[in-house]
């Protein structure tokens, strides 16, 4: 099926990266859609955790917030927020943390705190929430965002969460034992960090996307892998499942109580 929108392609490509036995700490928005799409397609037994305390949740519609009632209703168990951050996140039980970004640099460092100076911001963003410790405690980090020059920047204004710092072994130097960002999925391409420099490198272009498009919407000089592949187009199952999920979600959130 070739009629997928770039955003649908992004969500579907991200969902494919999740393994059936992953334990995934889910943020709201594109990460939530990707995680639930994986659960509804190739990874039915994936464990989805939302920071509100819901573990092993299986919502029928995407939650508007990270604490919607359906997350609790369908969870294996719901724990307190301190327990969530102590036993489950800090305890090292989460294999994949899924983050979005307002600003991202080529080493996977993320800003969702403020545009401009922290103490005198041009735009005050919502802040990190769970992100600073998600970035350091999860086994690895997947990032999704739509490409644009304002978001994918050479230097982020604030280090809300640490990716690979200035590259190389920056994480080890800070005593962080986890892998950090291992995947970036945008609406145009799939990126992975270079084994040595840790700079995000395009490994796959989504169908119909050119290298120029990727570069034009990115604020740093893009590195492409030696062999850039083409992301497989969405399957009918993937696209139908995602669209059904979004349709159910829209009906539930826009009208009266479902």
């Amino acid at each position: 099926m070739s009629d997928a929108t770039p955003e649908e392609m992004m969500t579907i490509a991200a969902s494919r990266a999740l393994r059936p036995d992953d334990v995934c700490f889910v943020g709201i928005g594109a990460p939530s859609a990707a995680c639930n799409l994986a659960r509804l397609t190739h990874a039915p037994d994936i464990t989805l955790i939302y920071e509100s305390g819901t573990i092993g949740t299986a919502p029928n519609v995407l939650p508007l917030s990270i604490g919607d009632g359906e997350l609790c209703d369908t969870a294996v168990t719901t724990v307190s927020v301190p327990e969530m951050f102590r036993y489950w996140l800090q305890g090292g039980r989460v294999s994949v943390g899924f983050l979005g970004a307002a600003q991202l640099d080529k080493f996977g460092n993320i800003n969702t705190t403020a545009i401009g100076d922290y103490h005198n911001p041009k735009v005050r963003l919502p802040g990190g929430g769970g992100a600073p410790e998600i970035a350091s405690s999860c086994g690895e980090i997947f990032i999704t965002m739509k490409q644009n020059q304002r978001g994918m920047v050479n230097r982020i204004d604030f280090f809300t969460s640490f990716g690979h710092g200035d590259g190389g072994d920056a994480r080890e130097k800070l005593g962080i034992a986890t892998k950090g960002p291992t995947l970036l999925v945008t609406d145009l391409a799939t990126w992975k960090p270079d084994a040595v420099t840790k700079e995000f490198t395009v490994v796959s272009l989504h169908p119909g996307v050119s290298r120029e498009q990727v570069q034009q919407t990115c604020g740093w000089p893009v590195t492409f892998a030696e062999n850039v592949e083409t992301t497989p187009a969405p399957s009918a199952l993937e696209l139908t499942t995602l669209r059904d999920l979004h349709a159910r979600t829209k009906a539930a959130h826009s009208g009266d109580a479902a």
Binding site: C72, T78, V81, P121, G127, P132, H253, A257
Partner: protein, 285 residues
């Protein structure tokens, strides 16, 4: 020991100008009715504490009731930014607002340490994160066994905490269930605690033994306010009014529209109005 009071009297007796106050709730069970009563009573110079300040803190900040906000995520959940808070931070409207910002892990640990009577919380956090550079309340301690450097933050012990819960029994014990969030810790960490509930029942017979119950002697006042979490929700009673959250984005975008909305929906309203606001969400749980 819990007293059964009207919301007006409970807020008047427990919240004063200048207090450090937490209206806690993690998406679920946000004590909107209690916050609206605090608005009507005109409290000022508050330090507002909450992990996830959302629209009710946006309302209080937009009215200039807060001198400071302590938080880990300021957003309209699933919708976007908080426009009144932005106006205060970016433009000092209507008054300047001091911020103390943490991560969720830090705030959760700080409340936990507060409930545990400790002066600080220790956790593995803030590595490489910019907040450690801009918040002097983030320090480091060394593990005397391994040498590992861990993060430390002061424990959070508000003067008073407000929460909304499902129910109390006649003795004043309070039941919280579903997404319990940080409420137990916020109550136990605070000097005083006021709980609004959907209903008072005779007893909790048959309740699961490990359910989250706050004994009556940990609570200062209990007020029956059906619908008191709206537009948030109460597990087992009514669903979340997502449309109100979406609409807030527009209402809060404009100072005049915001002011008019507050007049009509808060100043000219009462705790009894909350029951009607949740009627159509009662089948959603």
């Amino acid at each position: 020991m819990a007293k059964f009071l009207s919301l007006h009297d409970a807020v008047a007796a427990n919240l004063s100008d200048g207090d450090v106050v937490a209206f806690e709730g993690f998406t679920h069970l946000i004590p909107h009715a209690a916050a609206h009563e605090a608005i009507r009573q005109g409290r000022r110079e508050l330090t507002l504490v909450r992990m996830t300040p959302d629209i009710v803190y946006d309302q209080m900040i937009g009215l200039g009731m807060a001198k400071k906000v302590v938080f880990s995520y300021v957003g309209n959940p699933g919708v976007g930014l908080l426009r009144r808070l932005r106006d205060a931070v970016e433009n000092a409207w209507p008054v300047p607002l001091e911020i103390e910002e943490h991560s969720h892990a830090a705030m959760a640990n700080a409340y936990e340490a507060g409930a545990a009577g400790l002066p600080m919380a220790v956790f593995r956090g803030y590595r490489g994160a910019g907040l450690a550079d801009v918040n002097p309340n983030i320090k480091m301690v060394e593990c005397p066994f391994t040498g590992e450097i861990l993060a430390a933050v002061p424990s959070m012990q508000p003067d008073v905490t407000f929460i909304h819960a499902q129910k109390a029994n006649k003795k004043g014990d309070v039941l919280v269930e579903g997404i319990v969030g940080i409420q137990k810790e916020a109550v136990l960490a605070a000097g005083r605690a006021v709980v609004t509930v959907e209903e008072i029942v005779d007893n909790f017979d048959g309740l699961h033994p490990n359910a989250c119950v706050l004994p009556a002697w940990t609570v200062s006042a209990i007020c029956t306010v059906p619908g008191g979490a709206h537009p948030s929700y109460t597990h087992g009673y009514y669903g979340r009014d997502n449309v109100s959250y979406l609409e807030w984005d527009d209402i809060s975008a404009d100072r005049e529209r915001f002011t008019a909305w507050m007049q009509a929906n808060v100043f000219d309203a009462s705790p009894e109005d909350f029951a009607g606001r949740v009627t159509k969400f009662r089948n959603a749980t």
